[in-house]
Subunit: 455 residues, 2 copies
Amino acid sequence: MDVRSLVEELKETIDAERVSQNDTILEQHSKDESYHTPNLPDVVVFPKTAEEVSKIMKLAQKYKCPVIPFGIGSSLEGHVIPVKGGISLDFTLMNEIIDIREKDLLVVVQPGVTRTQLNEALKGYGLFFPVDPGADATLGGMAATGASGTTTVKYGTMRNQVQDLEVVLADGTIIHTGNMAAKSSSGYNLTSLFIGSEGTLGCFTELTLKVHGLPEYVMAARAVFQTVDDAVNAVVDVRQAGIPVARAELVDEQTMHVVNEHSQTDFPVKPTLLFEFHGNQSGLMEDVRLTKQILDDHNCRDFIYETDHAKRNQLWKVRHNMAYAFIHTYRGRKLMATDVCVPISELAGAIYHARKALFKSGIPGGIAGHVGDGNFHVTLMIDTNNAEEIARTKQLNKELVEYAISRRGTCTGEHGVGLGKKQFQRLEHGAAFDYMKKIKDVLDPNRILNPGKIF
Amino acid sequence: MDVRSLVEELKETIDAERVSQNDTILEQHSKDESYHTPNLPDVVVFPKTAEEVSKIMKLAQKYKCPVIPFGIGSSLEGHVIPVKGGISLDFTLMNEIIDIREKDLLVVVQPGVTRTQLNEALKGYGLFFPVDPGADATLGGMAATGASGTTTVKYGTMRNQVQDLEVVLADGTIIHTGNMAAKSSSGYNLTSLFIGSEGTLGCFTELTLKVHGLPEYVMAARAVFQTVDDAVNAVVDVRQAGIPVARAELVDEQTMHVVNEHSQTDFPVKPTLLFEFHGNQSGLMEDVRLTKQILDDHNCRDFIYETDHAKRNQLWKVRHNMAYAFIHTYRGRKLMATDVCVPISELAGAIYHARKALFKSGIPGGIAGHVGDGNFHVTLMIDTNNAEEIARTKQLNKELVEYAISRRGTCTGEHGVGLGKKQFQRLEHGAAFDYMKKIKDVLDPNRILNPGKIF
């Protein structure tokens, strides 16, 4: 690839200032928040419009040059690492909230808008956007990963929130995948195909997202258990009873300890469930009463309500900062998080199996997760200079994934495939994987879109 | 195509008794419930397993013979009409409920199971399957159409309910598109691609579906208005207030009149909204109170609760029998239903426009719809022997569709494309339509799967 000519042509096509080969900028775009090995892109470009992205794509085709869309680099599976160099397409300058359609409960945003930026803008309208992965990711990145988070048990994942995408395809064509109607049976559902495609099918240049009315009443609760088994079985029964919890998170005692140290909190160092309920006050009180009853049946010792806004926020801040608490506590080590998701009936068995495997591995870590969805993470703090420890970590992840897939679960509930889950795609999807490849080949015949990811 | 050899080979491949060229059976498989012109298949085959479907598909490839999956023929857009002859693949014998996974709120069914059959089986578990198009369609057909119905405003469409599909592809390969975990970010979302693909990408041989706990408490309400405008604006405000209604249906005065005549009921012949609320009793009471307040602001004269189970059922039976009421009243004419869906902010304008167009056309009919989703149907009773009237009906539909698409809506909210909406695909999807075609071509290069539909 003649990088020099490519860069010259890029500079002629859009502002030269927005085409960078500065060392610091290249280095910033070589990595994400994962343990995967960084690799430099050849050039970083900062487009401002879909038309510019289209022009860049056509140049990339001409040079058969990889294109890697980049949000803020908060991926946990190496999605944005330019493993074969090429153009890192940074969407920082496309961060405008274009339209807030209150009546339709829809917003139109550019891909570089972050979820907290959007929620800040929505506040005044009494609306909010529910999907909350830990990081303050960009909405384009979240859609590309098929992200989810703590509120998914009630509001769903990005798949449920994206109404329409404007996508620049590998050949530079700009398409819309959907419309603004609440439902449609017209043509193939391209929106869902692109969500979770991790930049391998096209680059998103505009997203229409569903938003929700702020709930009339919110209550959080903390439930402390003697054993992880009790906590997991309790949450399974709460789901089974059809109680519409808005959040249902497990934090094990190891994680609680790290969190307390880092956040100067004094939560009991016991397996804990964190709940949140959204609704009208009287309906919610009945839900909470029923939940408490179920938890009692599973030896819950403490069930503490947090109606106060500040206390509730503290609770969820702790949950969201959990990864940082681990990183802070184990300086010099890198975080690796497993991400399996299993049918809820298999959750207790899967977590039991994971805990045994974690303790046996001797690697420092803990278990936490969105147990209301059957999704949990084993956080592992690894010394990336220690080849034997890396091998042990990978073996542990492999065991967890194989266990989950054998129970009709998935290797990744929310972090995506990226580099880390490629090896499990055939096992998980079987013959379907070949047809994913065929679709990839027909939409990106020269394989310029985020090569080396998923496949 | 050498039909005789094909039929011989089919008979050798599966029981000869399940390969039929009987005139009555061919005729039954030539049509659906729509106004579209019937056409005979060459042969009807009744498979019992995915493996048999795979063998049939391989034979179809050999003979380049069309394959048209057939449920119970309740389509409203000609989906199952073998416009180019071929094999009508009837799933009547694949009607087993394979597994009810209570804890996971999932069921595994064969494609020929109908929605009432499933709900009958679920009753004993305190569970139900929410999607309810008017007809007692098969679940395979509903998934293929991307069907929805009156409860979609709360529970979503088939797209939200299908967890996994077993699909026999055009080359005979059997794949699974998903798993049983509540969420996954692993690989491309093929499940959503196949839902609504109308038999053009593969044949479903097994479905894993989400089911829901029967609500603790259910209340229905009937709200009578002086004008359609008031009724529509009221429902828009109810949605905007975030009240989680389970059903929100509009029936206009023309439709109410036909319904009363047919069902021997005496509902007021006025624009009416039918609501249903699901939840715990105290939460629901608060929702109903707030709804009534909003409706009052829109000059609602009568707001009648129906808590009684029998009365509630009567109300929804009336709603579901509406099409039959029209067919019964206008004997000799055929029903044609438009199916646009618009963003909720555009609903009042769209219905106002549709009513004007309906009255101007002079064709007997009425308006009803799932207005909570912005989806409504103009029911038109047409004399299919009158070419001028058919032309007038098609023109009316075209005007409605163009209006909807110009407001970022869709030509079909739930009936699918089939034969009737093909002409609007380019207008609605723009350049994206070319890429749908590319995906079709790569999965079905010889175009044997339900040819003549969508494209």
